[in-house]
Structures are given as structure tokens and as C-alpha cells.
Symmetry: C2
Subunit: 377 residues, 2 copies
């Protein structure tokens, strides 16, 4: 049965440590979910996600899998877990974010969103009901309801209309979910929208809370707005969400942002940053970013991060990694992604420990101080 168990709350900040119980294993929170858009984490084998990183949950993208290879095919092959040899939990998005990123290829109606495939131009429609059907076919453990994700900036009026639509779709989706797909094994989260308007965010949150949902996502952030604004919107929203349900901020963030979300009571996050940065030659370390192509690393025998226990840092020098990067060897992406994901997952584990041990405020102060040092360096 899907269930969220709150283990500890930091009285000073509201940061939470908990446990998501899913049909595919338990997930300690706060959790960062690696992104496997097309049923694969780019450059990393499923077994390495388990053996190297002990990741407990990943995210996959409904829009992409709907178009290719198709959710019905995946269902026939036993669902996403079997398809990609990933026996642990999977969260799928609703497809809304991708569809609303298509820009000229879509048309929003009251019933849903018409769009054209970026692959071949074919027309499709996502409705609040159909995206749940797709996610059920995929075998998702945590499904998202269809939302409208606005670009930044948006006018208050556009945001108001859009937020109302998101609320209406969430009601329709949740009714459909309760009637058809609520088997207790999986969960369904509506998504709080409202652009950068706190009042709209609050209104949306209140409406969605009345659905008594399994958990809540906060969407429409990380769309180009200043960081402070993303946090402000999170602050306006999180306290309104029921404390006994998991809270998920979609699509964040940089390593120094992650603790800020946790400090605002967020339990779940996902982002392509660690893997995309890895492929571009950027390593995240506790001492800041290492840009591996720099000449200073040409003969550097040190690992990217001395104390890191990842396969990359235990075995390879910066000189070797720089060589692989410049030579365009795909093994570079694998090694760098393993390191960056390890960096994120270690960060989450340390925060969880700090919360459980009642020392998250000190942890957060130290993180902020070192991030400030890093920025001034």
C-alpha cells in the first residue's frame, strides 16, 4: 500500500524526514529522484543506480514514453519497471510540462490539451483522464495529474485563468482516479500552480487540499524566474498542504538550492541538472563546481573529490576524466553522471540524518555559509 510516514520535523525550519512506502519499496525522504526521461537514466545502467547509488525512486516522463515506444507496448511488456529492469519505485509526470514546453505545437481547450508530437508531428490529446490511463499503463507508483504549466513571466489574468483550469482538471482527474485507478498500491498527486502570484498559489493549494490527495506537487517553478521567487512561491504553498502528505517540488534544483527547499518542508525533488551537467563536463563537489575541461586539470592526479566514495572518484584522476571529456568518450558521461548523482543522493542522506538527529538548523547554516564562500570565491 502507498503510505507516507513522517518521522521527524525540524521545529525551527519545518524540514521533514519521512518514509514513502510504495509497492516497489520504501523511499527515505527528503529524496532526490534521478530523471530517466525515456525509460533510461542517460549514461547509467539500472544496476548501477542500485549498486552505486542505492537510488530508491526515479522519475520518468509520460509525454516521451507515450510518444515512444508507447504506453500500451510498455504495459504489455509488464510495465516500466520490468521494461527498464528497474525494480524500485517510479514517479511519472503528467506530460503537462513537456506539452506546455512545445509552444507552437499545442492548443489548450477546456477538456485538455491538443498537441503535435515533436517526433513526427502527429496530433494527440492529453486530458485529465487520459494521462492517468497512460501512467497506469506504464505502471507508475506515483502519478501526476494533468496541469497547465505557464511560461515565466505571465500576467496575473493569464495565471488566474490557467490556475482555474489546473484546479478544474485536478478535480476531474482525481474523480477519475478514485473511480478507476485508486487501488491503494499507487498514488496520485495534483500539482499546485499559480505562476509567481502567491495569492493564486494559495488559492490553488486550498482547492487541491480539498481533494484529500495522496500527496501534493508544486509545479511551474524553475521556468526562468529568479531563485528567490521560486522559494517565495514554495513558502506561500507548503504550509497550506496537509502535513501528513508528501510534498514534491518539480524540477529543482542546483545543489545549493536543494537544502532551501527541504528547509521549506519539501520532501521530494527531481532535476536533470546533475546528469545534464555531468555530460557537459561539470562535476558538483562539496568545494563547488569542477569544470573538467580546464587546463589546470591536465596532469592533475587527484580525484574530482577526495572524500567521495563513488566509482569515478575512487578510480580516476581529473587528468583522465579531462582526457575522456576532450576525446568525446561516452564513458565520460557515465562516470560524471555517477559522481553527480552520488553528490545529490549523499546530500539528501546527510540532510535526512540532520533532521532525524535534530541538527538540521546547524546543517543549513553551515551549508549556506559554504555556498556563500563558494559564490564569493
Amino acid at each position: 500500500m502507498f503510505r507516507f510516514e513522517l518521522k521527524a520535523v525540524c521545529s525551527e525550519t519545518g524540514a521533514r524526514a519521512g518514509m514513502l512506502h510504495t509497492a516497489h519499496g520504501d523511499v527515505e525522504t527528503p529524496v532526490f529522484m534521478p530523471v530517466g526521461t525515456q525509460a533510461a537514466i542517460k549514461g547509467v545502467l539500472a544496476r548501477d543506480l542500485i549498486q552505486d547509488l542505492d537510488a530508491k525512486i526515479i522519475l520518468s516522463n509520460t509525454y516521451h514514453l507515450f510518444l515512444r515506444p508507447g504506453h500500451e507496448g510498455i504495459r504489455k511488456l509488464g510495465g516500466l519497471q520490468k521494461f527498464m529492469a528497474w525494480p524500485r519505485a517510479i514517479l511519472t509526470d503528467s506530460g503537462g510540462f513537456q506539452v506546455f514546453s512545445l509552444d507552437s505545437l499545442r492548443k489548450v481547450t477546456d477538456h485538455g490539451v491538443l498537441f503535435r508530437s515533436h517526433l513526427n508531428g502527429d496530433s494527440h490529446m492529453f486530458t485529465p483522464e487520459s494521462t492517468l490511463d497512460v501512467q497506469m499503463a506504464l505502471g507508475s507508483d506515483i502519478m501526476m495529474v494533468l496541469d497547465e504549466c505557464l511560461a515565466y513571466p505571465a500576467s496575473h489574468e493569464a495565471a488566474r485563468v490557467s490556475t482555474e483550469r489546473t484546479v478544474r482538471w485536478a478535480r476531474e482527474a482525481y474523480q477519475y482516479y478514485r473511480e478507476r485507478h485508486s487501488d491503494g498500491l499507487r498514488a496520485c498527486f495534483p500539482i499546485v500552480q499559480g505562476s509567481m502570484f502567491a495569492s493564486l498559489r494559495r488559492h490553488c493549494a486550498e482547492e487541491l487540499v480539498s481533494l484529500d490527495a495522496d500527496g501534493y506537487a508544486i509545479g511551474g517553478l524553475s521556468v526562468g524566474e529568479p531563485r528567490a521567487l521560486s522559494l517565495e512561491m514554495t513558502e506561500a504553498t507548503a504550509p497550506l498542504l496537509p502535513p501528513d502528505r508528501p510534498r514534491y517540488v518539480m524540477g529543482v534544483g542546483m545543489p545549493d538550492e536543494i537544502p532551501e527547499y527541504v528547509a521549506r518542508g519539501i520532501d521530494m525533488m527531481d532535476c536533470v541538472l546533475p546528469s545534464r551537467n555531468a555530460r557537459n563536463g561539470y562535476f558538483f563537489t562539496s568545494a563547488g563546481r569542477v569544470i573538467i575541461k580546464q587546463t589546470q586539470f591536465k596532469d592533475d592526479p587527484r580525484p574530482v573529490e577526495e572524500k567521495c566514495e563513488c566509482y569515478c572518484c575512487r578510480n580516476f584522476s581529473r587528468a583522465y576524466l579531462r582526457h575522456l571529456f576532450l576525446a568525446g568518450e561516452m564513458t565520460f558521461s557515465t562516470l560524471a553522471t555517477l559522481h553527480n548523482l552520488k553528490h545529490y543522493l549523499d546530500l539528501m542522506r546527510r540532510m535526512r540524518e540532520a533532521i532525524l538527529e535534530g541538527r538540521f538548523p546547524e546543517y543549513l547554516r553551515a551549508r549556506r555559509a559554504s555556498a556563500a564562500d563558494d559564490h564569493s570565491a
Copy 2:
């Protein structure tokens, strides 16, 4: 100490089973060496080469490493093994093949070959002595002497002149090796050339045998000539080589060619085919090639090869692999390369067992029959 131990010889065919003892471990022969051109096997981590494939030796390319990152840098970092976290044996080529592939970018003199880097146009010279220095700096276990590798076809006169040069360079290289680099830990192989002229091949082999070398390579094959001719040249050469030294045919071949070389007394081979074919979506199986993009595999729940024990076949369906390939996921290359290398290494193990158990002739007949079936299918 480097040493070759002959364990069994097939009396009917001359196929050999042996053991190469190197400073970085023992290598059972006949052996296929995966190619790690730029100090990495494309798409496969060093640990997976050990854990998944139990490969005992790989090949790396002197020309590429000389240009980038540079052999001196690798030497300072502890040699190629440490650099790439590969603790087992490494064979390096002489750079000759690559330099002679550059075509307009090179000039052959009596002393060596002048060439321009394909990376930045810088001028460099390889001499029989300098390429050994480079390979020593890399920390190679088995070094190759500089040879001139002719394009196919070549006139008899061009081949004669070139073969004489290769013989002269081998004498110079071997003298230098004996004086400077022969520490007993590593080996140095001269390379038999002679284009497609059996008499030149025989002449070259006799000249090189007089060097009493650690082992012998046969080069200049797989340069576009018909298969039958490559085998004919091998037949003209192998019997002239001392039976107690390892014999290496460079740059072959397809899975159905490999047993033919073994049947002609060859102990070592290397080729980019298994990894390059993998990246292009071609899987080698005992039932022939699987071209994964084909529509017939769209919903195919079977592994690429039912009885294969590789990570790819134990976990993933053809439908999933086809999806990854069409989606351009780099994980596809990793999985396919693991499978194809496993196919080659399993092939070598089965041949070795057959030779040791005195049933190689039957093995070979069965292979040839199934290859013929495959071609007629």
C-alpha cells in the same frame, strides 16, 4: 616475466591453446582483445570489462594516446593501467596503422614517418625507436614495432619496397628494444607485412623470425581485400613463425572469421567490430545478426539471445533495446557493447576448450556449417 606457454595444438588444423604470462596477469589464448583506442572501451567501464566479461587483455592505440593526452602525461600518472583503472594486460599498437591511414597527412622517409595530427595539424615523426619510447611511457605489456601498412590494392613493386622498409624498421626497433627496453616484464612484437603477395609475406616472416622476437604480429590485413585473401596471407605466414611464440593477427574480424584464424594457428586478435556494430544497433548472436531497429522487434519480449548470460540479455527485451536505440539513449551502446564483447569472448573460450579437449576439428565443422546456413538464410 613475459612468457608464452603452449598448452595444446590441434593436430588436424594447427589451432593452438596457450597462456600468455604478463606482468599484469595471465591471458588464456586464443584471445580476442577489446579495443580501447583512447584509453577507454567505448561505452563500457573498466570494472564491467572485468566483472561482466572477465577480459584479460585490451588493446590501446599509440597514435591516439601520443597525440592526446600525450604519453609523458600518462607516464607521470603511473602508466595506462593506472590512468584508466584497468589492472590487467594492455597491448599497444605501434601507431603505424593509424599514421598510414592518414593518407595526405604523412610522408615516409627511411628514418620513419612524418605526419600531421588529425586533431590540430601539428607535425610529428614516428621512428622505430620513438614509438617504442612512447609505448614504454604508456606502460604497455605488449608493444608493437613500427611498420608500414599498405593500402589495398598495392603493386608488387610498392609492396616489395614497403616490406623491405618494414623489415629494416623492425631490425632497428628490435635492436633498440634489446638495448633499452627489454626488461623481461614486457614483450615486443614485430609485424609481418607484404601486402597480398605470399612470397613477400614469407620473406618478411623469415627476416623477422631471425630477430628471435617475443612474439609476432601479422599486419596489413583487413584493409579492404577479400576475406579469402586475408586467410591465404595468414596461411602463407603462420607456419613460418616459431611455434613457441604467440601469433597475433591485427584487426580481425567478424565472428565467423575468428575461428578461421584460430584454425590457422593464430593466438591473438583484436577488432573494433563488436563495439562499433553494437553502437550501430547490430547484435551478434549464435543465430546470426540481430538488427535491433527492425520493426519486427517493436513488441518482442525476448532477450537478444535466449541463452546469453550477459547483463543485457538477462535483463532487457528486444523491445526495450529497440526503444533505446531509436531514442538515441547512450545506454543502448553500453548494453549492446557488453553483449557483443561477451559474444566474442565466449567464442574464444569455447574454441579454447575445444582445442584443449581435442575436438576443435568438429567444433570448426559445426561453426562452418552454421555460418553457411546463416549466409543462405
